[in-house]
Amino acid sequence: MSESILSPEHYFDAGIFRAEQQHIYRKLWIFAGIKQLLAEPDAFLTRTIGGVPVVIQNCGGELRAFENRCAHRQMPLQFEDYGQRRLACRYHGWVYGDDGTVRSIPQEDALYRYSAAERGQLCLQRFALRTVGNFVFVNLAASPAPLETQFTPELLAELEAISAHFSNDAAFARIPARYNWKLNWENVLDTNHVPYVHPRSFLPLLPGMTAAADAAVPARPPATDVSDLSFSTRSTYKLDAQAWHAMVERFGDTDNYYNFYLYPNINFISLAGYVFLIQQFDPVAPERTDVLFTLMVARERKRIPALPAILWGHMKGEKRVLDEDIILLERLQQSLHTQDTRARHGVYESRLVDSARIYARQIAGAA
């Protein structure tokens, strides 16, 4: 037995939350969205990462990440989760160039009269951006560590290969939940909850899934590096054949349940290479998490007229499974306040223990 490294305070304390934002979310590479929705000129997406509003904009074919705040009054430049619009402020009409500098200010001479030096400094802060296949990651650090130190080359190659199969259309949902993001990260690492929490919805589809595989892992040395926290698994999936499956370029040719864990807050799964779901546990406040669902099917070989109905149908199904977790995790969160004992982990939970250890090191600022 190992008593949890994390105390209940790690799940609700405001100071710890700030430390996470600084040492994890503004230091690591964080998933921001998917590339195929940003293909058009001036296509954009917005996110809040580590408390900082970020816009990723297609600037003449190149994706760039900027702070999503006008240099004038700090108004967000883009509002929607995904959209297509030039990088300009709705408040006073400032327009930005591809490099984040202010290209034009309406009535600049009459109203603003910035000196040349002042004018030269008006610029959006830019952040590092990397794409891995259709995955877009950003890093808010001033000098980011290479992406390859956070994810192994093998894992990056897998992500690139599988994401090449993403459809051009994606359904996106933001699901507010009242618990700390780590509870959800730990929950997906803990496959032993599935028989108890999802006996009817999810378990029947996973004949091969067993936490015993995780328990067999103790041979694995304890994780020492952040890159040890992200990995992939696959197990057998009981596929329900659909007519549209014949109309898409499936990933792989086996009925696998593909499962990717990307530290700190992504669980990416694929149902037999036909359906792809990126789940992100986006920290909003110590006790509030937005679960972000990005759901796609494999890319179309020929046009599927009913694709919106297929995406919406899968989205509803995945949400029903998530709701079984949310109802539990929200209660777990509530009970943390009255608790002075810590979780007692069995050997199968070594992945949680690894995560907690490296997380604790990171928020101490030593990572």
Partner: protein, 217 residues
């Protein structure tokens, strides 16, 4: 109108029509082809209509399963097979003479369709629903029981307006959207938007702009 009508499908509206017959068209003989479920449309059903007299009229009645695509499938296949469709109006519905109704349209009991409104092919309007003046409902749609579509509102193809949903006057709802959380909607709703009790916030589908997908009928 006299003659024969072949009703094919399954679900609540299907059963409503079958049960209300012959009040809907007293002089027409109704033949019923009941499918086991919307999924049953994957297997051919056309031969079950084979015994129909020359050029019989047909009506495809399936509920709003998969953004109305299940009903669309049956409708489109029968249409390609050269069948003639009709429009069915419950005797207690009030349909203004200036309203335009497409084929394979159902207007439920107590529904009111006001002047100059238009309802596209294969769209179903539920019990006691209101379609107010000059509202436009595109094809393959669904308006649930007691829902209302405000004056001059425009609803795109394949939309589901759920029970007790009220779309405000002049509001446009983009195609392939599903609004199923009861309430009043006064702002435009983009295409492929899903507002459902299952989700606290609207769900959106983004990506390649599609041209008239799924409206081949």
């Amino acid at each position: 109108m006299s003659g024969e009508l072949w009703l094919i499908g399954c679900g609540d509206i299907f059963e409503t029509i079958a049960a209300a017959w012959p009040a809907i068209e007293p002089d027409t003989v109704l033949h019923v082809v009941r499918l086991e479920s919307p999924a049953a449309i994957a297997t051919p059903f056309e031969e079950r209509l084979a015994a129909a007299s020359p050029q019989p009229r047909v009506f495809a009645a399936l509920d709003q399963s998969a953004l109305n695509f299940a009903r669309f499938d049956v409708y489109a296949r029968l249409r390609l097979g050269g069948r003639r469709f009709c429009t069915l109006i419950h005797p207690s519905a009030i349909v203004d003479a200036t309203a335009k109704l497409g084929e394979n349209v159902w207007i439920g009991a107590g529904a009111v369709i006001e002047a100059r409104s238009s309802i596209g092919h294969n769209t179903f309007v539920g019990t006691r629903a209101l379609v107010l003046g000059a509202a436009e409902l595109a094809a393959h749609g669904w308006v649930g029981a007691a829902a209302s579509v405000g004056a001059r509102a425009k609803i795109g193809t394949h939309c589901v307006i759920g029970a007790d949903v009220r779309i405000g006057a002049g509001v446009e709802v983009g195609r392939f959207s599903s609004i199923e959380r009861p309430g009043h909607y006064a702002e435009p709703i983009a295409e492929r938007t899903y507002i459902d009790a299952l989700f606290e916030l609207p769900v959106r589908i983004y990506g390649s702009a599609r041209k008239q997908a799924g409206t081949a009928g």
